[in-house]
């Protein structure tokens, strides 16, 4: 349920909590006390500038952890607000830091998790910079990114699903991919 290495933590190192839409999970300059695993829902991380402008830093979605960097800072640097009703596992910062210091395997697995996330985000940025859309979709198919449905893929690569469906049609017409089933495609 919890992603590795957090599943190795002692049970009392974390607790499940539910939040209504619009609740604050934490506030800028608070704590930081915890990092978070979002089981269901959406949480938005926002910062307020000196001029009062709201800046959205990140939108966390289901299955993601957030506020990891607060493990290494003296305060949260943004607000976290639930956009929908959300179920969140709250992981004690102190417990994680302690596990990092006393459990070499935990420490290494956590570092690996972050390193792989860096890799994945770089990849995401790269594919989102691929233009035009037809090449972006082709690249995504070539990499086997169409694992669930086309709409999810579209979101992942930063296109509307309409643009993605159109690109898929054009790729078929050009003989570059084949349709193997409804919503399933493979390279020609």
């Amino acid at each position: 349920m919890l992603p590795s290495p957090f599943n190795e933590l002692d049970k009392n190192a974390y607790a499940a909590k539910t939040y209504d839409e619009g609740e604050f999970v934490f506030r800028q300059n608070d704590g930081p006390y915890s990092i978070y695993f979002l089981q269901t829902g959406i949480v938005q991380l926002e910062r307020h500038t000196a001029h009062g402008d709201k800046v959205i830093i990140h939108r966390a979605s289901e299955g993601q952890t957030f506020a990891e960097a607060s493990l290494f800072s003296e305060a949260y640097h943004c607000d976290a607000v639930t956009i929908t009703h959300s179920q969140i596992i709250v992981l004690q910062k102190s417990a994680i830091l302690n596990a990092m210091r006393t459990n070499l395997h935990f420490a290494e697995t956590l570092t690996a998790r972050f390193a792989h996330q860096v890799q994945a985000y770089r990849h995401s940025l790269e594919i989102r910079s691929t233009r035009p859309a037809i090449e972006r979709v082709y690249t995504a198919i070539a990499q086997g990114m169409l694992t669930s449905d086309v709409i999810s893929l579209a979101t992942e690569i930063g296109l509307t699903h309409e643009a993605t469906y159109r690109a898929l049609s054009e790729l078929i017409a050009a003989g570059r991919i084949r349709k193997t089933a409804r919503g399933k495609y493979s390279l020609a």
Copy 2:
């Protein structure tokens, strides 16, 4: 010169190397032996699919490290090719893993580095998804992202410099920002 915590490594844990344009820094399925700090130049990470398509995973630019995730894998999963003549510091994987296991401070600083990179990439993805361009540029200015020149900012936020200059003009016309000097702007 080397970003923290790599500057704490023993001198013989790394070595500077120069590569001509088009040279391979490493190849898919090799090693992995090392991670890399790119001092000057551009390095492209590419993968080849079963169908022979080249997929660009990431373009590393000056001042960045790359292939960090290979610390935790049994082989490089892509090729690294220099796009321009490049100066690279090659850091021994074994030395880094050793430092992680024997030096708690090194381990924690490395984990923090990755966590902060995750945070930065999430932020980058978020701002790049901000539409229209004028709001993206405003958000960037509000966050103080214009630290060097407009062209660099444009690249950072995923716009052409023309679009960025135009957005800046419109923001001035709308009274939302002020021009403080050539190429310098602040919130109105």
